[in-house]
Every structure is written in structure tokens, then in C-alpha cells.
Symmetry: C2
Subunit: 159 residues, 2 copies
Amino acid sequence: MDEITEITEHKLNIIKGVFMDFLNANGHKRTTERMAILEEIYSFDEHFDVLELHHHLRRKNYKVSMATIYNNIKLYEEAGLILKHRFGKGMAQYEKCYFNRDHHHIILTDTGEVKEFRDPRIQDIKNWIEKTYDIKVDRQSLYFYGRRCEKQKNTPRDE
Amino acid sequence: MDEITEITEHKLNIIKGVFMDFLNANGHKRTTERMAILEEIYSFDEHFDVLELHHHLRRKNYKVSMATIYNNIKLYEEAGLILKHRFGKGMAQYEKCYFNRDHHHIILTDTGEVKEFRDPRIQDIKNWIEKTYDIKVDRQSLYFYGRRCEKQKNTPRDE
DNA sequence: ATAACTGCAAATCATTTGCAGATCT
DNA sequence: AGATCTGCAAATGATTTGCAGTTAT
């Protein structure tokens, strides 16, 4: 939906606070790299992968190794600050998510473009699932793959 | 939904027919391995990975290499006969899909159990997306991750 | 006949890990 | 001080690919 979730100084501080609480609560240390990577992640408006993240950081003259990025990205995930996607081939994609939850994705397979949308019916379905199966849904990942109108694939129906 | 899609001899023949048409249409050859792997895939009622597939085949004394499985599995996918999933870590999971389309998944993260469900609202959403973005949605992948009711994670709301 | 296939082994790609030296608390 | 980091380089795991011999059309 390209409704840009602008990260103000104030919001960034909330994020950092959440993360530092998480670090404390789990016996992790607060390091410069850790905070720098987190801040960089929240400066992305789009999805990104570890390589892009690495490039952005180098461009700003932070010298952070890929190992460190990979190691820390798991923490942000655990802390509920980023979401990991595996759209298709290649590297995983990530996105910040603290102020941007409950949205879903449309991937245009021809161009690689990723759109976001929200739909209240998804919430309804989630509620229905929780009730019907007596479970707590704590994560969902919904992707629609498509492309700009023209031809279409053969799709046999349910029998 | 555990509504088992039993594959009768008749259905299997339809599948094989579809696949052979696909092979012809694309200049691929019909080999014993290719047909054996396909048949084995359609004997699974659940999701499977390439290793399980390999084991099943060996147990039946088909000696097929992993390379061949990997190479061919792409064809079944292209032919619209299987779906590939990347639930979490590790290997990709696959499932037959010719007689079992338009269903979605609930993954119980504690037990690893996978449930299937259908919901007409998903179709509505798909239609809405196609109209709104002027695209053709040709694939969708919807997963809800949850676990049997008890505690729940802290989930900050949209701002 | 010949283009496509199988299977092995080697290659690749993304991600993880072991370890030595540096850094937080 | 002592546990936890970082970063390098080496290890891993899943999947792909090159190639020589084999098979389908």
C-alpha cells in the first residue's frame, strides 16, 4: 500500500528501548554494531536482504561483518522487530515491523515488485481459525503472486 | 482439513496424462524415473521433502539419484502438479496439488503439525486484489502459524 | 542420429559456526 | 574478571551444475 511508515526520532527511540529491554531480559549485551544495524534496518522503507543491509552500513562507514549481521538479525526477529520472508529463490528478505503489522504481500513475479495491502477479512479468518482449531495464531504470512494482466496459466480446478 | 484426497488408478492416469502432455509440449522426454517419481509423489498424503521422496523410492527398489529428483521436481512444479513450500528452516516441502487446489495452511509451531483449510473469503480477497491492482493472481501462499492455546507472545499493535 | 536424460562428483549459494582477540557489564 | 561479542575463515546444508555415459524419439 506504499503507506510509508516514516520513522521519526521518537519512534526510533521506542524501538531501541524495546530492543534494549529484550537484550537485558535475555542476557545479551548492547554493542555498537547491534544498535547500528537495528537503526539501519529501521531506515529502510522497503524490504531488504542482508547484502543490501551490509552495503548500506558500509556506505555509512560502519564496518560490520556479514557474520555479525546474520547473528544479530536473529535477535531482531526474536525481539519481534523484523519479519523474515522467503519470497522465492535466493536470500531471505526482511522488513521492519514494529509499527507496521498485520499487512500482507502481493508479489509481481514479472517485475519482482512487492506491494502491501491490508484486509479486515484476514483478521476474521484468523479469528475463525483460532476458534475452530482452538489455537492461538501468533504469526501469519500471506502472499499473492501475480503479474500485470495478460496471459494466464492453465489451472485445473478442484475435481 | 485432513480431507484425504485419495488417488485412485483413474486419477493417477489423468495426472500422468497431464504430465505427458506437458512433457511433449516442452520437448522433454518421458523417462522411467520421471514417471516413477511422479507416481510416488502422488502416493503421499502429506507434505514431503526430497529426502523422504528418495527414501520411499529406494524402499521400492527404484534407484533414483538426488540430482534426478531435484531436476525433475522443477518440472512437476512447472506442470502445476506439485506445490513447493518453505515453511521454515531446512529443506523445502512439497505436496501434490492437482486434485487439491485452493487450500491454505495452519502450521502448529510447537508440534510441527500442518493443517489445511479452505475459506471462500480468500477467493474474494483474491478477486479484490486482481480488480484493484489490475493484475492476474496465479499463485497464493497463505500460512497461519500458531500453537495450542496457552501463553502468547507480546505483540505490539499498529501504532 | 541426436537431443535430452541420469547419476556421480564437484560447484555454488545462503547461512552457520569455531575460535582468537576485543568489548561490554 | 568474566561472559558475551565481532570478524575472519572454514564448515555446513540445500540445491545446482558439468560432464561422460545412457536412453527416448
